[in-house]
Symmetry: C2
Subunit: 246 residues, 2 copies
């Protein structure tokens, strides 16, 4: 009996261990209560209930995460754009937390691999990616509080994606900016594109951007153009940082 | 010269001292940077600019405060109503942060007495009360961070106003509940109504509710009925607490 329990406990903790490591990698810090994160990836079709008969799925966490995203982004924009009035700040925030953008964020982290559901993944609509991204933010709030929520959103949303010039439409394409820069600096560049399929059957495009034969940025998106643009933006900011710290 | 400076400094710090005390009373804790709170009450008609030429008024703080209110209320509802789904939580939050409710909150604290403006107070629309309440929440975030924002919202919004039974329409009137209770407990009750005028010329009604000839609750609102209801609710909760701690 004790052997059976031991085997059960071991396989259970091994599974938890893998999930813990995966989540920690995504968060950038240690989770405390894994249950919060399991809930963030539990689809309503699982029909799970807690001991009081309340449904366990990610939908309530989505509500919580949406609120936390809104306030962290609001505070960031407030501090970053002191010249922006209320209307400007509202518009910028809407762009950042748009359905499309949230779907992109969830897809990039491939969160759908964690989903627990009784319906097959290809039956989910496109919005599942954004929904579970929001739920993940809600889970972080529940597990670790507002400050960690802020930390995660800075790392996963603001730093790689929130580019005020681009949101304002001042920068049309980072690919063209990067090409321009390479020509000016007499550097060679190369975009290496490959295709892959996500767990839900969605076609993805991966891009490796090399400058002077060295890979400087990678990106993954639902179109070749988007993936190239994303890789260019990452490379552009990485170079900018280098130039600034010289 | 030094005497003039001394007089000036004294009168300045005296004015700051009064504002500090007033704000501290409203917040329930010490403010750090009074400038944040001054800005929360600065109307755009003041035409104030900072050293970079950016406008100083409460409108940007309103955006920030609105976001903080939304997330604190979201977290409260999430924890308080484990059976409520996403739709329920969204609906309840909308009721709590409705324009009408925010105006009531601002009016109750008489925030308009702090306003700095070049147009007379009676020219402001009704929404100014809610707008500066939101701006005050934004100022708290800026001055003291999210946790103090949460503390303030719990004290000033959730504790006195957020009554889930009432929001769900399960309780129609606290006045009738209270009268019922008084009759059952064989206690006498009396509503003493008086009128007063706010700084902006708005007519207010004050109510003192006495039970067994002792004032047990006070309230102030824009109609007699509202003030009576509010006083009844306060008395009802005060008695409930007494009964529970017996």
């Amino acid at each position: 009996m004790s052997i059976i329990r031991k085997i059960f406990t071991n396989s259970r903790s091994q599974e938890d261990g893998i999930f813990f490591t995966d989540i920690q990698k995504i968060l950038g810090f240690k989770p405390n209560n894994l249950e919060c994160y399991r809930r963030a990836f539990t689809h309503r079709s699982s029909n799970k209930l807690d001991s009081d008969g309340n449904q366990i799925n990610y939908e309530r966490l989505e509500f919580l995460g949406d609120a936390m995203l809104s306030s962290v982004i609001a505070a960031h924009l407030f501090n970053q754009v002191p010249s922006g009035d209320e209307g400007y700040l509202t518009k910028m925030r809407s762009k950042i937390v748009s359905r499309e953008h949230l779907n992109e964020l969830g897809r990039d982290l491939n969160l759908i691999r964690f989903i627990e559901s009784k319906v097959p993944a290809q039956h989910f609509g496109e919005n599942i990616h954004g929904n579970i991204f929001e739920a993940l933010v809600g889970a972080i709030y529940l597990d670790k509080g507002y400050m960690y929520c802020e930390k995660f959103i800075k790392k996963r949303v603001i730093l790689p994606y929130v580019d005020i010039a681009k949101l304002e439409g001042k920068v049309i394409s980072y690919k063209s900016l990067l090409i321009e820069w390479c020509q000016k600096e007499k550097r060679t560049f190369h975009y290496d594109v490959f295709e892959d399929n996500g767990i839900d059957g969605q076609r993805f495009f991966g891009v490796k951007l090399s400058i002077d034969q060295k890979v400087v940025a990678k990106a993954r998106a639902t179109s070749k153009k988007k993936a190239e643009e994303k890789a260019s933006q990452r490379a552009y900011f990485a170079f900018q940082e280098k130039i600034n710290t010289k």
